[in-house]
């Protein structure tokens, strides 16, 4: 299908870092089954470096590809780098996403931040709150039950 770039299809069909890390140092889950996307990121952190990362995703092709690409982009990187990862960088690394699928890359960025925040909180590490904005998945949360 030509809806997606070759890179999106590659990461969708052969996702990197799928799975779970038992006793992960940080876990972040964002999204909502109602709107059709949930991303969960597991981090293993050693000396401020993301030594391992895994993901689980319920969602469309671009959601799975965004998760896969995002995990590739932060694996082996310091937390400070992972915190600056933007959804645009994820989408660009995938050679672009259709406009109405950009929220998938936003979810990937937010899932990583949520996992890092979880790590900071668990370990009582002081952090800059401005780096963790409100999630932008408002359209899901606004939905009536």
């Amino acid at each position: 299908m030509s809806l997606y770039s070759e890179k999106v299809m590659d990461h969708f069909k052969h996702p990197r870092n799928v799975g779970v890390i038992e006793n992960a140092d940080g876990v972040g889950e964002v999204g909502n089954a109602k709107c059709g996307d949930i991303m969960k990121i597991y981090l293993k952190i050693d000396d401020g470096i993301i030594s391992d990362v895994k993901f689980e995703t319920f969602g469309c092709g671009s959601a799975i590809a965004s998760s896969s690409m995002a995990t590739e982009l932060i694996k082996g990187k310091p937390l400070s780098d992972a915190l600056t990862l933007t959804n645009k960088a994820v989408a660009e690394a995938l050679d672009g996403l259709p406009a109405y699928k950009m929220h998938c890359s936003v979810l990937a960025e937010e899932a990583i931040k949520a996992a890092i925040l979880d790590y900071y909180k668990k370990n009582h590490i002081a952090y800059d709150e401005s780096l963790f904005r409100e999630t932008s998945c408002a359209h899901c949360e606004d939905r009536p039950e």
Binding site: M1, M9, F12, K13, P15, V18, G19, V20, E29, A33, K34, C35, G36, D37, I38, M39, K40, F55, E56, T57, F58, G59, C60, G61, A63, I64, Y100, K101, H139, R143
Partner: protein, 395 residues
């Protein structure tokens, strides 16, 4: 292996339709409105097509209007009946929650013009109740519109019964028969309908052509102004090759409907039986009262678009009512109307078969679909939560 199982979206052109199209281009190239021999020959051919379509539907030739397809027919019928009713102060329209957007969006437009629109529920089985329609019909009702068969879940609606009620109450009745024609018997007299829309490419005809049946004496306004084609109700030079190809396709499709339905429903039943073995899934729509080629499921814990893409990679062309495949935030209104909650409706899969499909196709899909569903569930945090008790199974 390549399996095309999306025949409710469109069908492959029948060879007989293709041949007829080309032959018509060669032999009947004149404009039916022209006075000369070439034009008159084309006009005669157009008449032959109209007579054939009418005969198949149980109508008179002058009750058939050729259109660009189902959407146009639905629009024209609904707008005509509504505007005619409004002149007499009747501004209530009764329809169902599972109509095609060609109907629903036309009704939405009429709502903005001040019409009252009542959409009847269809229950879990996806079938509207005739008595519910009857209760809603009152002296202000200018139109009832109920589809013959649903495009997503394949359920067959009690159109005969509703048509009978409408006829008794003298309320115009429209049916969108786009998914039904060529796949089940369709006779306008038996259905008691005043308007019936059909589309050629759902039964092996070309795209961009269809027909609207309008019972004699029923109001019809034109959507396209211009020349006097189609008895002044649809301007524009007739697409005779397309009309002729549609006619050929319809003749072939309806030649032996019982044999067709027997063959295709056997494939459908095997596929339903095989896919039902997938844990935590559910068939959408009534098990028995459905189109012979429709298989529609929801699989819990996965999302439909990723399922479609992976099936496509395995050579299987299917469809889904998930939000991600439509570009909107909400999953299909039909799945929501039969009570599937959002979480589950996102994981829907529609396979629509016809006589081109084989037992091998069904065996292949029965093997691949469970594998792909299991693979996607393996990476789904929702599926993990369901299995580890953090989330309740719905299906």
């Amino acid at each position: 292996m390549f399996v095309y199982a999306d025949n409710a979206a469109t069908t492959k052109l029948r060879p007989v339709a293709r041949e007829r199209y080309l032959k018509t281009c060669e032999e009947f190239f004149g404009n039916p409105s022209s006075l000369h021999t070439a034009g008159q020959r084309a006009k005669e051919e157009l008449t032959r097509c109209r007579e054939s379509v009418a005969r198949i539907l149980g109508a008179e030739a002058n009750e058939i209007y050729f259109t660009s397809g189902g959407s146009e027919g639905d629009n024209q019928a609904i707008l005509s009946a509504a505007h005619f009713g409004a002149k007499k102060g009747k501004k209530k329209i009764v329809s169902t929650a599972i109509e095609h957007h060609a109907v629903l969006h036309t009704l939405k437009k009429l709502q903005k013009e001040g019409f009252e629109v009542v959409l009847l529920p269809v229950g879990e089985e996806g079938i509207v109740k005739a008595e519910d329609a009857e209760k809603e019909i009152d002296e202000n009702t200018c139109l009832v519109s109920v589809m013959l068969a649903n495009n997503e879940i394949g359920t067959i609606q009690p159109v005969e019964e509703i048509g009978k009620i409408c006829r008794e109450r003298k309320v115009p009745f429209h049916t969108d028969a786009v998914q039904a024609v060529g796949h089940m018997p369709v006779n306008v007299k038996a259905l008691n309908c005043d308007y019936l829309a059909l589309s050629a490419h759902k039964f092996g005809g070309p795209r961009g052509v269809g027909a609207l049946y309008v019972r004699r004496g029923m109001p019809l306004e034109s959507l396209i102004e211009g020349g006097a084609q189609e008895r002044g109700k649809r301007a524009g030079t007739e697409d005779l090759p397309a009309v002729a190809a549609m006619t050929a396709a319809l003749e072939e499709a309806t030649r032996d409907l019982p044999a067709y339905m027997k063959k295709v429903s056997a494939l459908r039943d095997t596929l339903i039986e095989n896919l039902s073995r997938i844990p935590h899934c559910a068939l959408n729509g009534d098990r028995k009262r459905r189109l012979c080629g429709n298989v529609s499921f929801c699989f819990e814990g996965i999302e439909g678009e990723s399922l479609l893409l992976l099936l496509d990679d395995e050579g299987i062309c299917a469809s889904s009512g998930s939000a991600c495949t439509s570009g909107s935030l909400d999953p299909s209104h039909v799945l929501l109307a039969i009570g599937r909650v959002h979480d589950v409706a996102h994981g829907s899969l529609r396979l629509t078969l016809n006589e081109e499909n084989t037992e091998e196709d069904v065996a292949y899909m029965s093997e691949k679909i469970p594998q792909v569903v299991a693979y996607l569930r393996g990476m789904s945090p929702v599926w993990r939560d369901l299995n580890e008790g953090r989330r309740q199974f719905i299906l």
